[in-house]
Amino acid sequence: MSKKIKSFNFILIIFIALFLTGCWDNEELDTISIVTGVGIDAADTEGNIKLSLQVGKINQEKSTPQSAGGSDDSIILEIEEKSILTGTNELERQVTRALFMFHNQVIIFGKEQAKKEIKPYIETFIRQNDMRMETLVFISEGEAKDILDIKMEQDKISSFGITKMIEGIQRYDETYSIRVLDLVCMIMDEGTTPVLPILKIEGSDKSRLLLKGLAILDNEKYIGELNETETRGYTWIRGKFKNTFIEVDTEDGLAILNMSNIRYKLKPQIKGEDLIMDLEILGDVVFSEVQGFHNMTIEETTKIILEGAKEKINEEIEASLSKSKKLKTDFLGFGTEYHKRFPKVWEDVKEHWENIFPEISLITNIELNLIDTGKIRNSLDMKEGK
């Protein structure tokens, strides 16, 4: 009998102890507002930033079925402060509800602010516990605030729109999806200079966003950007293409190839004194569109088209290589490759890598095997070949 009682007055004590407690961390859903996007722009006074937070608005009236599902528009809160945290605390006083950052989808830096520096702000994003490492980072053409402000047709809240857009693009190539973690990796890596995608407002009624190339941030300062072909070159070298379209324009005709199942090998070599990087790209190619090539056999056309495709890829790679040599920053990551493969060599080369880096010669060999020409065997105006 006594054994039972002892174990039960113990349970009573546990319950008494627990009931003494209040509930500290209990925040009801209607007492918080959820930040979905953060924009940081350059402010005129030195050391200050213009912080703008995009908050998802929860509509007041009862949730009729159609209006549920996050399609409500968003509120933009703006403040000019020394740092992000002081800014959020300041804003919190103005807004009726506590600001919660853990659902933040997007961090956008204005171009002017990128020109100044972004490292301290990234630092706050890593240190804060409720900031997540998978939020995407962008540089905006104009002001970050305008990007947050626009109303996209599909999703009212622009940061949702951006994340959906990136998810869409990610199926083709991954250059544009740079998360906070990837950015931090690039910053900590001596061998590479960080690169961020650029967002630009497009469309007549300012309701569409365009991903327009990559911005280069040498020791976290904006020093230049890559246009369309240079970005493609960068993606080729970094091996971030999943499948892509190649446009081959020869005098005989125009062909669009859909390249998929792309495999990369980037191997740094040291031959005697000079450094060589050889890049190997293999891919399967499908003719998706063929124009012209009047009365030529299928073999001839394929040969010309494949030649043209290799030509095009090399041209893109060359464009981005020359850009990085011109800007004297190794955003292509050759330094890390050497650091990984030849740690000793990298030790003594590290300091003056800027002037060694331009001497690197890149040898690329590309193999494309044609696996399919789509539904029809050869185009209408081709000659019946063997």
Binding site: I13, W24, R341, P343
Partner: protein
């Protein structure tokens, strides 16, 4: 006289050893910051280095099958020195339980409940542990199989979930750290996760496995625990690559990165639950042996009245053990391993040697029961 007669079976012992190691595998920040991407080598070296200590433990266990550490000290070193050694051990167990409680309290406070006073978090946990300890440790070791199963499934499932974010060449600049870093990391690993197995000497009388077979189960458990630790470090390096050294909780960050089709994402709650359960197991074992140590030290009839008061001491001790997280990190990675080394391997070594010299157990058989 044995205070707690409940017996621990083979599999329970094996899995409690595994559980013990796994629970410290989730807070791997102290050695990953030293040997950044080669931490997995440090783990392997650490486990190899700590195998001799395990042999010492099993030798002692074989020599004194039904005596726990305190009684062994009294027999081997005589009453006075034996008492001193036992006090050192008990202080070590109390410190370990305090540090572990502090770790868990801080983890829960930092990630989940940031403005609940930590006394409530730690208090609730210790209340639960004291309830277990009052009813004997066999209550919890019975679940060691369940806890290990939960921990391993979570680790393995997270490895699969983060496979698409893993890049194998994050490991690449292998063996680039200064030699000293490897020595230091191995020392830390052999002291913190693996060295804490000195605990099993206290559980000695409760094991109903024949003395010779105990080493087998100890090594099995050690392997399971070591393998999970290796897997965790491997996964963290592969996913976090360079950034592993700046994070205080690398595993936590890795789990936050899991996002598969935006539905199965934000699963770090899994990590938190497995950590809480494993830490609960570890703390209740440490708490139990501190209480048993004191009970045996003063030769008390029953250990139950001590439980609550020692619980309060552990709670207070866990608040004052390190003034700040930086001090904890600094001492954890610089000076503490030496202290731990002394208690975990040198003292048992001395006990084994002295026992060998005085050929104690035979004498014991002739003299008393």
């Amino acid at each position: 006289m044995i205070l707690d007669k409940r017996k621990i079976s083979r599999t329970q012992f094996m899995f409690s050893v595994a559980c013990f190691i796994q629970s410290s595998s989730l807070l791997t920040s102290f050695f990953t910051s030293i040997t950044k991407q080669d931490s997995w080598i440090a783990v392997i070296l650490g486990s190899i280095v700590s195998i001799p200590t395990l042999l010492i433990y099993s030798y002692i266990m074989k020599k004194f099958p039904d005596k726990n550490l305190i009684e062994i000290n009294d027999m081997v070193f005589g009453p006075i020195i034996g008492k001193i050694f036992s006090i050192i051990y008990i202080w070590f167990f109390m410190t370990l339980s305090a540090i572990n409680t502090k770790d868990l309290g801080e983890f829960v406070q930092k990630t989940i409940l940031d403005n609940t006073p930590s006394i409530i978090i730690v208090g609730a946990l210790l209340l639960l542990c004291s309830w277990t300890v009052r009813n004997g440790i066999e209550i919890v070791t019975r679940y060691s199989l369940l806890f290990t199963f939960i921990a391993t499934t979570i680790v393995i499932s997270t490895v699969f979930l983060t496979i698409n974010q893993m890049e194998m060449d994050n490991f690449l600049p292998i063996l680039q750290q200064p030699k000293m870093a490897y020595v230091r990391a191995t020392h830390i690993i052999s002291a913190i996760p693996f060295g804490e197995l000195v605990v099993i000497l206290m559980l000695n009388p409760n094991l109903d496995i024949e003395p010779k077979k105990r080493i087998k189960y100890l090594l099995y458990g050690f392997l399971i625990g070591g393998f999970t630790l290796l897997l965790v470090v491997f996964r963290d390096i592969a996913v976090l690559s360079k950034t592993i050294e700046i994070f205080l909780l690398p595993s936590y960050e890795t789990l936050r990165l899991i996002s598969v089709y935006s539905t199965l994402s934000r699963v770090e709650a899994l990590f938190a639950i497995s950590l809480i359960i494993l830490m609960f197991f570890k703390i209740s074992v440490l708490y139990y042996i501190s209480v048993m140590g004191i009970a045996y030290l003063f030769k008390m009839k029953s250990y139950k009245p001590l439980v609550l008061s020692i619980g309060v001491i552990i709670i207070i001790y866990s608040f004052i053990v390190y003034p700040s997280i930086i001090a904890h990190m600094k001492s954890g990675s610089e000076t503490a391993p030496f202290g731990w080394l002394v208690v975990e391997s040198i003292l048992p070594l001395i006990t084994a040697i002295v026992a060998k010299i005085r050929k104690l157990p035979e004498q014991k058989k002739g003299m008393s029961s």
